[in-house]
Structures are given as C-alpha cells and as structure tokens.
C-alpha cells in the first residue's frame, strides 16, 4: 500500500450492508479507476459508525467529511466533485435533525459529541479485515505488554482496579470473575466469549465483532494468560453471518502473525481459539446453557453452583465474558485502570454501549459514559422523538428489563440506579416509546418473546410465562378483570423466585415495571375497556362524525372490509361488526371526520 492522499471509509456493518453498501463500495472503485484516482485514493470497508438509520454511511478523510444515505447513483458526484476537485457535495452531507444547514464532519454532530468510544474504538475507523490496521490502532499492544511485562496477578489486579463489570447484563465485577477462574486448580481451563446476543433490539456485540474483531481476540488471550488457559471458544449466533466471517478472517490473520498459537511473542504462553456457532436460541445466552451448547448438548441451563469458574465447559474451570466486556480490556491495559475508573459513576465505571431504537430520530449505536441521563441520550444524542410526539417511556434491557417513565428521565443510567427504579441496563437495548405506544401491549410483546424462547426445562418458566401471556392477552382484548391484575402480580413474584435460570427469573420484569409505572393503563383496559394509546384493536372503535363528514365517499372506496356505507354528499356510517380497525379510512379522510376512540 503506497501513500494515498485520501481515504474513503464506507460502512460494511450489517445495517449498511442491508442498504446496499457493498454496491456503493464497488461503484467507488469503478469511479476511481475511471478518473484515474486509484493510486492516490483508497476506499475502505469499515465496521459500524453507529448511525444505522442513515446508512450507507461514507466518511472522506483527511477532511472527515460525513455523508449519509449514499446511493450508488451518488458515488460519481462525490468522486468528480469532492475527491477530484475538493468541493463538498452539500446535498449529500449529513443533516442533523433540528439543526440549521449541514454538518460537515462526523465529530461535530450531536450524535457523536457526547460519546466516548472505548469498546467501539475501532468501529468505523479501521478495516476489520486487515490486521495491520488493527495493529496501527494499538491492536495486540496490550497483549504484548501483559505477556512480557506483567504477571498474571498484576493483570487481574488491573482489571479489578478498573471497576469493569460484565456488560452482558448482570453487571458482575469482571476482575472478581477472573480471580475465581484463576484460583481454580486444574491444569486444563477454558476461556469463552458470549457472542450469543439475543435481546430484541440489541446489536452492539455484533458491531464490535464486525468492526474490530481483533479487540475481542486480544482480550480473550489476555484473559487466558491471567487465568491459565490455553484454549478458547467464541460462541456466536449463526444469524450474524458478517460478524462470523470477519471473526474467521481475524483469527486466521492472527494465527498467521503468530498472535495465536504456540509461544506467543516468544514467551511460553500458547493459546488457540475456535468459533462455535449457535442456532439462535435466546436461552443459549445464559452461561450454563451456552456451555452445554458448546459441548454439543441441547442448550439448557443447569442449576448453579457449581459456577462455571469452578466447573464449566467439559467439567473444567471456565471463564465466560461478554463481547463488549472483552472489548474494553485492551484499552484498560493500554491506558491504565485509573483512566477507566475515572469515567462513569461511583460503582459503575467506564462506558456502556446502547442500541437506540423505537421512536427516536437517530436509530443506532451509542457509547456513553455510565451515569449519562436518559434525557441526554434521547434528546441530545438520539436527536429527540420524530413527528413532534411526546416521550412516554424507554424500555431497557429487552425482555429481562423494564421501562423508565418520563418522571424518571433525569436518572443517571448506571447499574445501581437502574435496579432501584425497577429496570436493568442489561445488554444495552434501549427502545424509546412515545404517546402512541400502549404499555400493556409492550409487556405482552416481551412476554410473547420469552414464552417462545423458554427452553421448557423448568415449570415456573415454561408454564408461568405462558399463563402470564394469556392474562395479558385477556386484558388487551377487554376481557380482563381486576383479579387478573392481582393474579398477574402473584405469578410474577412466584416465577421470579422459582425459575431455574435468568431467562425465567427476569421474564416478569416487563410486567412488573409497567405495572409499577403505568398501572393506570392496565386499569383503563380492565375497568373502562379502553386502550389510552389506541393500540389494542379490540378496544377501539372508528367513528364518523356526521357534522364533519362531507360524503365524499373516499373512505368507503378504500375500506378493505366494505364496512362503510352512505349516500354521496351525505354523512357515512361505519358498520362496527364489519370493521377490522385497519385505520385506512382515517388516512384517506380529508375532513378529519373519522375519529378513533
């Protein structure tokens, strides 16, 4: 690779790949050849930039110009104007919601300003398929330091002092986990990585593996050195094909460079790493089920203790951490435990990656210091709620988590605060809801998910989640009673206490937290037989206001159920027995004569 004057970075993450970034990359190469620029400009496929809603993302360096939503047809203009003549293509620049004019550079956006990218440090910067680029950004430097300058105890000491806690959901102190695994006396130990990211809406682990897979490989080696293991496994779901492929390339390149294998950096430390594909069962994200699945057994949890640190994979002491947890490790070694501990709150150190989704302008991935408030995430980084709607609540932690209502929007997000308000940080999924979301319906959605994903081994979870779902169903169709709400609460408590693993123990959380903060919505469904948000179809009625209806017949022509009748220029009527509540008539009516109640 010779000196080039400009680098064009195109996102090759899953989000942008879905919006055709491979074609954009190919078109850039074609245009560079046509303009005879191939020698001086390079196009580089990177991992995720985080702003997935605006993909494909293209960033041109050295200026750092930030283009969004680039189509194949736009490429020629960028090459002929910007790359050749140095004139920015204004119309393609990223435009920030609510801001005047265009934003030229990525780092100037509200979306990036408040972020601190540690786990995502290489994503959107390096080409994940070239180990040399990872090395340029300090890849494998931390491993070299650990192997040649630090003792096993010192490494564990650094991780402990950093205050890093498990990013997979439970928030267990990582240093302590390493200490337990190191203390187990057995010549054979294993290091595993949990990349079975299953929460609906969470995709930070995928992004790390797609954008900077070497950071995870390096961290697993550091962990193996610290606890005394020689073999590692990455358990990743087969639904992440791009991540799997980049991981394979990264492992091959690391082996070629001798960063994996025997006598790494000339020391007596040897380590080998293999990938195990999961078939995408949610329960396999639970540690004992995951280890059973690696062994080739059915992915079912088992009671703990013994904990994996004592008796894990193949009956041997095993260290299991999540992808994002690992991704922090090399940074901590390179920058020191103090630098990491200086970020965040008293008990929750460092940063956390959140996947923003739902009713929010900037859908995507953000990494922010622990203790950032939900308001900052939603209003500043997330760009607010589209269509002028009002914030109602945010659901965090997916099916294991709960919701945060508007009244608690200024709570600093960390492990302790989240637990105290009845939610969890979890893996970092953050779904924003506005006034059009029905909280009972949300709880029902998550219970539907856990009911499907329950492995069936223990009855509290297998039968309990189904019963809870049934009751929610009953409430949303308007047949619920106040006794049902009481029964629901009783079931929640019982299942929480008696389920075998985390899946069942946390499954009631979406119900408990919506009951806590939005009990009035449940009661509206039960007592008034009304859905305040207008979501639950069985509790809705569409009506035509005779005084506003001009009799234009637009509604009766679009009604798919032929439920609307009336004479021309006379008020129309909806036959409630036929109406399927699709809402098409409301969109068609020019006189605002049709209402939902």
């Amino acid at each position: 690779m010779s000196f080039v004057r400009s680098h064009v970075l195109v996102c090759g993450g899953t989000g942008c790949t879905a919006s055709d970034s491979p074609k954009v990359i190919a078109e850039f190469e074609k245009q560079f050849a046509e303009f005879k620029l191939s020698d001086e400009v390079r196009v580089i496929k990177t991992g995720c930039f985080g702003l997935c809603a605006l993909g494909p993302i293209v960033v041109v360096y050295p200026e750092g110009t930030f283009y969004s939503s680039i189509k194949v047809e736009d490429v020629k203009e960028i090459v002929s104007e910007h790359i050749l003549k140095g004139r920015l293509v204004e119309r393609l620049l990223y435009k920030e919601a609510g801001a005047e004019g265009h934003t030229h550079s990525l780092n100037d956006t509200q979306f990036y300003k408040k972020q601190k990218r540690i786990a995502l440090r290489g994503c959107g910067v390096i080409n994940p398929e070239e180990i040399d680029e990872a090395i340029a950004y300090d890849g494998y430097r931390a491993l070299a330091t650990c192997l040649t300058e630090k003792s096993r105890e010192e490494v564990i000491q650094i991780v402990t002092a950093s205050g890093l806690r498990g990013r997979g959901g439970a928030g267990f102190p990582t240093g302590m986990k390493w200490k337990f695994a190191a203390a187990a006396e057995d010549p054979v130990k294993y290091v595993c990585c949990n990349a079975d990211e299953g929460d609906p809406g969470a995709f930070m682990d995928r992004s790390v593996l797609e954008g900077n897979p070497h950071s995870v490989i390096e961290a697993m080696e550091i962990a193996a050195y610290a606890i005394g293991a020689a073999q590692g496994y990455i358990y990743i779901r087969a639904e992440y094909p791009i991540a799997v492929q980049r991981l394979k390339i990264a492992i091959d390149q690391a082996k070629e460079y001798g960063f994996l294998g025997k006598n790494i950096f000339g020391t007596d430390f040897s380590f080998d790493l293999e990938i195990r594909l999961g078939a995408g069962a949610f329960v396999c994200g639970e540690e004992t089920a995951l280890l059973a699945s690696i062994e080739g057994h059915r992915g079912e949890p088992r009671p703990r203790p013994p904990f994996p640190a004592v008796k894990g994979l193949f009956g041997k002491p095993t260290l299991l951490n999540n992808v994002e947890t690992y991704a922090n490790i090399p940074w901590i070694i390179n920058n020191g435990a103090e630098a990491f501990a200086a970020i965040g709150t008293e008990k929750s150190k460092g940063t956390k990656v959140f996947a923003l989704g739902g009713k929010i302008t900037n859908t995507g991935l953000v990494e922010i210091p622990m203790g950032t408030t939900l308001r900052e995430i939603v209003e500043e980084i997330g760009g607010g709620i589209p269509n002028g709607k009002k914030f109602k609540a945010a659901q965090t932690g997916g099916p294991s988590g709960g919701c945060i209502p508007l009244s608690l929007i200024d709570t600093p997000l960390d492990y302790e605060n989240m637990a105290s308000i009845g939610s969890i940080i979890g893996s970092g999924g953050l779904i924003v809801m506005d006034e059009d979301n029905c909280m009972v319906d949300i709880a029902k959605f998550f219970l539907g998910f856990t009911t499907d994903e329950s492995c069936g081994k223990c009855s509290p979870c297998r039968i309990g989640t189904k019963r809870m779902h049934d009751i929610l169903e009953k409430i949303t169709v308007g047949k619920g009673t106040m006794e049902d709400i009481a029964l629901l609460e009783e079931l929640c408590t019982h299942i929480k206490e008696n389920a075998l693993c985390g899946l069942g123990q946390t499954a009631p959380n979406p119900i408990l937290s919506t009951l806590k903060h939005f009990r009035h919505e449940y009661e509206a469904h039960v007592i008034d037989k009304r859905c305040p948000a207008g979501i639950c179809k069985d509790l809705l009625q569409y009506k035509i206001l005779p005084e506003k209806c001009a009799g234009c017949t637009a509604c009766s022509r679009v009604c798919p159920a032929n439920a609307i009748t009336g004479e021309v220029k006379n008020p129309h009527v909806i036959d409630q027995a036929k109406c399927i509540k699709c809402g098409t008539c409301v969109q068609k009516c020019k006189f605002e004569a049709i209402i939902k109640e």
């Binding site: 690779m1 970075l9 004139r87 090395i135 340029a136 001798g258």
Partner: protein, 122 residues
Amino acid sequence: MKSLEDLKKIREEMQQKINIRTGDENRTRVVVGMATCGIAAGARPVLAALVDEVSRRKLQQVTVTQTGCIGVCRLEPIIEVLEPGKEKVTYVKVTEEKVKKIVSEHLANGRVVEEYTIGAAE
C-alpha cells in the same frame, strides 16, 4: 511468528498510512486548487507529483488535500501550505518540477521557496 519488535514496526508503518484518519491539529496541510481553472492549468499532475514526493520522503506530518477555486485563476495551478501557528504560504503557477523543490525545501526543511510564492509572481 512476529516478535515484539515486529509488532512495533508494523504499528509505526501502518500509523503513517492511516494517520490521515485522525484529526491531528499539529499537521501541516498542503492544499491544491482543484477547480476547473486549476485542473485546466495542470493541477492534476501537480497533485500527483506532490503525493509522490510526500510519500517518498515519508513526511508523516503532512496532509495533502484539495480545494476549489481560490480566486486568482490566472495564477493556477496554486498550492497553499498551511502550517500550524505560521502564516499561510501560497505558491502559484506550480509545475511538477516546482513541486519537488517545494517539498524538499519547504515541507522537509521549513525553508519557504520565495521565488515561487505569489509575492514573487506579482
């Protein structure tokens, strides 16, 4: 098998190649006028020569970039050298030959080539 030294070497070599992706305030920027007037006057080969020379001399602190019309089209090709904390230097009617001297004198050794500057031309 890579040793610690190899790792360090790769890191240093690669950093030079990708350092244009880091927004370092202390870099020298060399800007080439690449509007229609510049291109017509021969800015393309000038830019190519500039990139070659900078690369040959491994000048890590130099970014070569391009810009639009600077406004004095009759003096194109124009290149400007912007060093942090120093006054901007504008070279006019630049050729591939002049580029070699500008790089070796100004960019590598910090001596402005007065005879090629806009002051000397006017």
